[in-house]
């Protein structure tokens, strides 16, 4: 879930998880209404909040076990041990939370959320303000959970995170979900490609015969840029190259670039505004 600061990412998650009251509408989790079927719905969900909110004086083991109990599961020391080992917190199991570093606290919140083996995991900006190494670890963890079949809903405003990990991308702006789309589909649909040609000799202007390509000529008149989208409603590159050859404009090199998710995101949010 992508969205700029204040777009409503956390509010949306909070409404789903029961932390804030929705003003209107209904939410179902795997077909279960979050109000009338709240027990079944919430049992499926694990939530890792954005803020590092912990009980300072509780031990790591104690707080993770507490979370499991709170979500209605009988004690399972073996599972808690596995979760703590996966998150490199096993050595700290008897430590008071107050003694943990910020990164450890972040992992602890994930351990708490995983303690009851949820099928859906909400990660609210898990990598905000964490160092590169921890970020890589977090990504690895998310991937392994994904492989185990856990549905992960991750909010972020780091586009690379979404680009790296998401199957589907939702964009939220000003409290409204603008779109939800398969990532590849989104890139395909909204992604623009550009072909840049380095000409052998600068040209004065783009010939009339090439006008329908809407080519851009660089300031030094030695480069031509053709922007096309991947849906193919503009003439193909092959046609352009053929027409260039007919117009006797030789080129020495070419390169293509594709818009990133970031560009798509920015343009979507801009349109939304």
């Amino acid at each position: 879930m992508l969205g700029p600061n204040g777009a409503g990412k956390t509010t949306l998650i909070s409404a789903i998880c029961g932390i804030v009251n929705a003003t209107e509408g209904t939410v179902t989790v795997d077909g279960l209404d979050i109000i009338s079927d709240y027990r079944a719905a919430r049992s499926m969900i694990g939530l890792v909040p954005q803020e590092l909110t912990t009980d300072a004086f509780e031990s790591v083991w104690g707080t993770v076990s507490f979370s499991r109990g709170l979500f209605g599961k009988p004690a399972a020391p073996a599972h808690i041990e596995k979760v703590l080992r996966d998150l490199s917190l096993w050595d700290k199991r008897d430590s008071k939370i107050i003694t943990l570093s910020g990164g450890m606290k972040r992992r602890l919140l994930i351990a708490k959320a995983l303690s009851h083996e949820p099928q859906i995991l909400f990660l609210d900006e898990p990598t905000a303000g964490v160092d590169v190494e921890l970020r890589q670890d977090m990504w690895a963890l998310v991937r392994s959970l994904q492989e185990r079949g856990v549905t992960i809903i991750l909010t972020t405003h780091y586009i690379d995170e979404a680009e790296e990990m998401a199957d589907r991308v939702g964009v939220i702006s000003k409290g409204e979900i603008i779109l939800v789309e398969e990532k590849a589909e989104l890139m395909h649909k909204l992604g623009k490609k550009q072909l840049t040609l380095q000409l052998q000799h600068p040209i004065e202007s783009v010939p009339e015969t090439l006008a329908h390509y809407r080519l851009e000529l660089s300031a030094d008149r030695a480069e031509l840029t053709y922007t096309y989208d991947t849906q193919g409603d503009r003439p193909s590159i092959a046609a352009l190259l053929e027409d260039l050859s007919k117009a006797a404009i030789p080129f020495k090199d070419l390169q293509t670039t594709q818009t990133s998710l970031e560009d798509i995101f920015v343009s979507l949010v801009r349109e939304g505004q």
């Binding site: 009251n21 919430r42 803020e51 009980d55 300072a56 209605g72 708490k112």
Partner: protein
């Protein structure tokens, strides 16, 4: 019913008591002992007997009630206020646990603590004055009902409070005066007739009267009325808690 959740909350709260044993148990015992030294031994020896009971022994039920009330409120209000303050309340709100289960666990833990405290104070009192308990079952009943009721009140205060000052405000401005004026240290009969009538509007009078009756068989109001008033007070507190959870007052935005 989510028994695991209730057990988890209860255990968590009781663990907090163990961690803060000094404040939770020792300091109220100490302050109550001071009351006994001052009112029971020093001043009490110069005060005439009240309805055939030495003054030192007469004030024991009132003093236990005083501690029970203030501690029940303090325990429960802090128990629910602290997660609100630190933000860990998110977990409670997002857990598959009903409001009734949340309240029962927090209030149960707070009441357990204050009942233990009440019994310790009673034992402490036994060191200073001769104690007799004529109706032990009634004594236990009043102890449990009062601890549960005022833990509910504490729970309400903890949810209402949006700062540590407010946590102190209600106990200090309302509960302590009501307890002092509710006959902890005197029998309502000692008051002028007008103030006797005014006292009947003070719910704590009924708690102390019933509790004292279970010790010595003497009461300002009949024990049946004491019981009814205590239950009524509990029902009102429960209704407020139900409303809080229904509306999400100060819990959810």
């Amino acid at each position: 019913m989510n028994v695991y959740a209730m057990r988890a909350i209860y255990k968590f709260e009781m663990a907090r008591t163990r961690r803060t044993l000094m404040q939770s148990i020792i300091s109220p015992v100490l302050s109550t002992s001071l009351y006994f030294v001052v009112f029971g031994a020093a001043i009490g020896s110069r005060i005439a007997q009240v309805e055939g009971i030495s003054y030192g022994a007469f004030i024991v039920p009132g003093l236990i009630m005083l501690s029970l009330l203030t501690q029940s409120i303090a325990n429960a209000s802090f128990g629910i206020y602290f997660p609100k303050f630190t933000g860990t309340i998110y977990e409670l709100l997002s857990a598959p646990v009903s409001y009734l289960e949340i309240v029962a666990s927090y209030v149960g833990a707070a009441a357990t603590k204050s009942v233990i405290l009440g019994l310790i104070i009673m034992a402490t009192a036994g060191l200073f004055v001769p104690l007799k308990i004529e109706h032990p079952l009634w004594m236990i009943l009043f102890l449990l009902l009062t601890a549960a009721t005022f833990s509910l009140v504490g729970f309400i205060i903890g949810i209402w409070a949006d700062g540590f000052e407010k946590l102190q405000l209600v106990p200090l401005l309302i509960v302590t005066p009501l307890t002092f004026l509710g006959g902890s240290f005197y029998s309502i009969d000692m008051l002028p007739p007008f103030w006797q009538k005014v006292s009947l509007f003070n719910p704590v009078v009924y708690l102390i009267s019933g509790f004292r009756w279970s010790f010595y068989g003497i009461a300002d109001v009949s024990v049946g009325i004491s019981l009814i008033m205590t239950l009524a007070f509990m029902a009102i507190s429960l209704a407020i808690v139900a409303w809080i959870f229904k509306t999400g007052y100060r819990l959810k935005s």
